[in-house]
């Protein structure tokens, strides 16, 4: 069977900044994301960043349009040739 280079989506969680651009770009609302604000004051200055808690893709509604891959400015979403599960879910440890 020929490999489909765009069979599913791959999340590269360390690149994700939880900016919500992919969630809002999705025309079928199949992406969901939970994140929390993490404040780091160890360097003396207050630095806050978002930490990704959960990222899920409902492949039952996903129509493989690729808008989320296109819009991601941090290359945290990529095309993958793996066959998709019905539901993809990533959770932080």
């Amino acid at each position: 069977m020929a490999m489909n280079p765009r069979a599913s989506l791959e999340l590269i969680a360390e690149n994700c900044t939880s900016c919500m651009l992919c969630i809002r770009a999705c025309p079928v609302w199949c992406l969901e994301l939970d994140a929390h604000l993490e404040v780091d004051e160890s360097s003396g200055r207050r630095r806050s960043s978002l930490a990704l808690d959960r990222f899920s893709i409902d492949y039952g509604t996903c129509m493989m349009c690729g808008l989320c891959v296109d819009i991601c400015p941090f290359e945290a979403l990529e095309w993958s040739s793996e066959l998709p599960p019905t539901q993809f879910e990533w959770r932080s440890e």
Binding site: S18, M20, I23, R24, W29, L31, E32, L37, L50
Partner: protein, 131 residues
């Protein structure tokens, strides 16, 4: 020139196949569009557009019946002279392809509504004017 006479003129001109007929909702009116093809030269076609309601052309193009019934129930437009028996939808259901008709999937919570960076700011999804 009316919808019927326009189609009749094209049919007399050799565009004898009704390839497709449907409607689009534009601003505040529903526009019915038909595509006619010349059977001797299938590459050439003509589009005819007219705001609804229009007259039925089933007597002229029998193949228009399915398209007219589908357009009538999906967009809630009337074709004068057409027996618009329901085709796919249960009786008394609203016209699902009109813009005022909310998509059931869009009535759930939008996943992009919450902004995790500013938890108190909420956003509205684009393209859902009824929310």
């Amino acid at each position: 020139m009316s919808w019927r006479s326009e189609l009749q003129a094209l049919r007399d001109d050799g565009f004898d196949v009704l390839d497709w007929l449907s409607a689009t909702e534009e601003d505040d009116e529903v526009v019915v569009t038909a595509c006619l093809v010349r059977s001797e030269d299938p590459g050439s076609f003509r589009l005819v557009r007219s705001p609804a309601p229009v007259e039925s052309v089933v007597d002229m193009f029998p193949s228009a019946q399915w398209h007219e019934r589908e357009t009538a129930e999906m967009f809630g437009v009337t074709f004068e002279g057409l027996n618009a028996a329901p085709l796919l939808l249960p009786p008394d259901s609203p016209a699902p392809l009109r813009k005022a008709q909310p998509l059931p999937a869009r009535l759930s919570q939008w996943p992009g509504e919450v902004d995790p960076a500013k938890p108190r700011r909420r956003q509205d999804p684009p393209g859902t004017p009824w929310r």
